[in-house]
C-alpha cells in the first residue's frame, strides 16, 4: 500500500516544489513507483519543474470533477520509468478542491503506487490543508530564517491536529521530517541566517537533510529536470541523501563545504 507524503512549509518560495520534484525523482530512481501531485491550484508549477508542461491535457481538478479519468491526467515522466506527475489546473481556484474528491483520487492512486508525494501550496488555507489531510508522513521544508521557521512550527501544529490521522486519534500520527533548504553556509557563518542547531532546537523534529543554496537548482528547473538527475550538483546529491534517510538509511549529514557538523548529528540522531 502506498505511502502518502506531503511536502509542506507554510511559507512560499522556500523550495517545496523543487523538493517534491527531486524527492519523487529520487524515489523513482530507486525503483519505487511514484506519483507527484501538484496541489497548488491556480499556480501550475510542478509540471514546469518536471519538464512536462507541454504535455498537460487534463489535470487534477478535471479528475475531481469527473471530466477526465485519472489515467488520462497522469503524465509519465520521459526519463524515469517509475515516475508520474498529476498536474494541477492553472485556471481554477482552490475551491475546486474538495476533501471527498482528494480522498477518492488518493485511494485510487494508493492501489497502484508505492509513494504519493503531495506538493503543497503555501499558506495554511484550503489547498495546504487538503494537501496534508491524508498524509502518512510530512516533509516540512524550511529555510534557515526566522519567518520560515515560524511558519514551519505553525504547520507542524496543524499536522498534529488537522489531519486525518490526528482526527482519528489512534496511535498513528503524521511522521514529520525537517528538510532544511537553501542553506548558505557563508551567510550562516556571517550570522545572516540561522544555524542548523538553532532551527532544530525550535522545531524539534528529525532532520531529513540539508540542501545547500545552489545555482544548479535554478538551472535544473529552467530545463525542466529534477535536480537529483544532475550528478554534478551538490544540491542534487543532498536530495539523494535525503531520500536515503527517508528510506531509513543512516547517512551522515554533510554541508556543501564538506565540513561535518558533528554536533547536531548527535543532537538529533534520527529515530527512524
Amino acid at each position: 500500500m502506498a505511502k502518502i507524503i506531503v511536502v509542506t512549509s507554510g511559507k512560499g518560495g522556500v523550495g517545496k516544489t523543487t523538493s517534491s520534484a527531486a524527492i519523487s525523482a529520487g524515489l523513482a530512481m530507486r525503483g519505487f513507483k511514484t506519483v507527484v501531485i501538484d496541489f497548488d491550484v491556480g499556480l501550475r508549477n510542478l509540471d514546469m519543474i518536471m519538464g512536462c508542461e507541454r504535455r498537460v491535457v487534463f489535470d487534477f481538478i478535471n479528475v475531481i470533477q469527473g471530466d477526465a479519468k485519472l489515467k488520462q491526467a497522469l503524465i509519465k515522466d520521459r526519463r524515469l520509468e517509475n515516475l508520474f506527475i498529476l498536474p494541477t489546473s492553472q485556471t481554477r481556484d482552490k475551491d475546486a478542491l474538495t476533501r471527498d474528491g482528494v480522498e477518492k483520487i488518493l485511494n485510487e492512486l494508493r492501489e497502484e503506487f508505492d509513494y504519493i508525494i503531495c506538493d503543497s501550496p503555501a499558506g495554511i488555507e484550503r489547498g495546504a490543508h487538503l494537501a496534508m489531510y491524508y498524509a502518512d508522513e510530512a516533509i516540512v521544508v524550511t529555510n534557515p530564517e526566522v519567518s520560515s521557521v515560524r511558519d514551519s512550527d505553525r504547520v507542524l501544529g496543524l499536522l498534529n491536529s488537522k489531519t486525518y490521522l490526528a482526527e482519528k486519534g489512534g496511535d498513528n500520527t503524521v511522521r514529520s521530517h525537517l528538510l532544511l533548504t537553501r542553506y548558505d553556509t557563508q551567510r550562516v557563518a556571517r550570522g545572516e541566517m540561522m544555524t542548523v542547531e538553532d532551527v532544530l532546537e525550535i522545531l524539534a523534529i528529525p532532520l531529513l537533510g540539508i540542501i545547500p543554496e545552489s545555482s544548479t537548482v535554478l538551472r535544473a528547473s529552467n530545463v525542466g529536470m529534477p535536480v537529483v538527475l544532475d550528478e554534478k550538483s551538490g544540491a542534487g546529491k543532498a536530495y539523494e541523501d535525503a531520500v536515503s534517510r527517508l528510506m531509513g538509511d543512516q547517512i551522515e549529514m554533510r554541508l556543501d563545504s564538506g565540513e561535518r557538523p558533528g554536533f547536531f548529528q548527535r543532537l538529533l540522531g534520527r529515530t527512524a
Binding site: I124, R150, R154, L156, G157
Partner: protein
Amino acid sequence: MSVKPFQIRGRFFTAVALRPEGDADQAFYDALDVQLRHTPNFFANAPFVIDLEQTDSLTEARDLVRLIEEMRHRKLSVFGVQNGTATQTATAVKAGLISLPSGRDVPVDRVERSVRQAPEMPDEAPEAPQPASLLITEPVRSGQKIFADRGDLVVVSSVGAGAELIAVGNIHVYGHLRGRALAGVNGDTTARIFCQGLDAELLAIAGLYRTSEDLGPAIRKQRVQAFLMDDKLCVEPLK
C-alpha cells in the same frame, strides 16, 4: 448535629448547543443526519440545549415538540433552551424544557472530551475531583492556544513563538518559552509563571503584562519565574 438524607451540590457540566438557523424543516433534519453520520456516537448521551438565537420560528408548540422528539429519537438528550424570545421560551417550558442563561462557547473538541468522559463516570464515586491542572507533553506550536480553564498549565516541552498559553492558575514550562503566557487570567494575583528558558513574546499575570521588548536581555534564555509584587510584574532568575 443532624444528618440529612441528601446533599446539595453545585455542579458544572459541558453541554452541546444546537443552534438552528431558520425553520426546523426537512432540510434541517437532513443536515442534522449528515452531521451525525460524520460523527457517529460523538454526541450520544451528551446533554443538549437548543440555542434559539438564530431562528424566529419554533414559536409553535408542535414545531418545538417535534424538534425535541426528533432529537431524542437521534439519541440527543435535549434538556433546555436558551436565547429564545419570550414566546419561544414559554413554549419550550411548556414542552418540558428548562430555560438557561447563554453560557460560553468552547471548541467542540473540548466538548467531545468531556462528553466522552461523561458516561464513564462511575456512579458510586461522585465526589472524586477531576484534576484541575492540564498537562501537555508535546511541543506547543505557533498558532496553537492552550487553555487550562480550572488550574495550572504544565508544558513538558517547548512553546513556539506565536503560541499562547493561558491558565487560571500557574504556568510551568519545562522547555523554552517563546510564545505568550498568561497566568491567573481570572484575576489570581498569586499566580506565577515558571520556565526553563525565557524568550517569551509576552508574560501576563492577572492582567498585568510585559512584552519581550521590556523583558530586557539580562534574563533572556534564563530559567526564571514571574510573579506580581506591589502591582508590578517581576521576573527573576530561578536559583
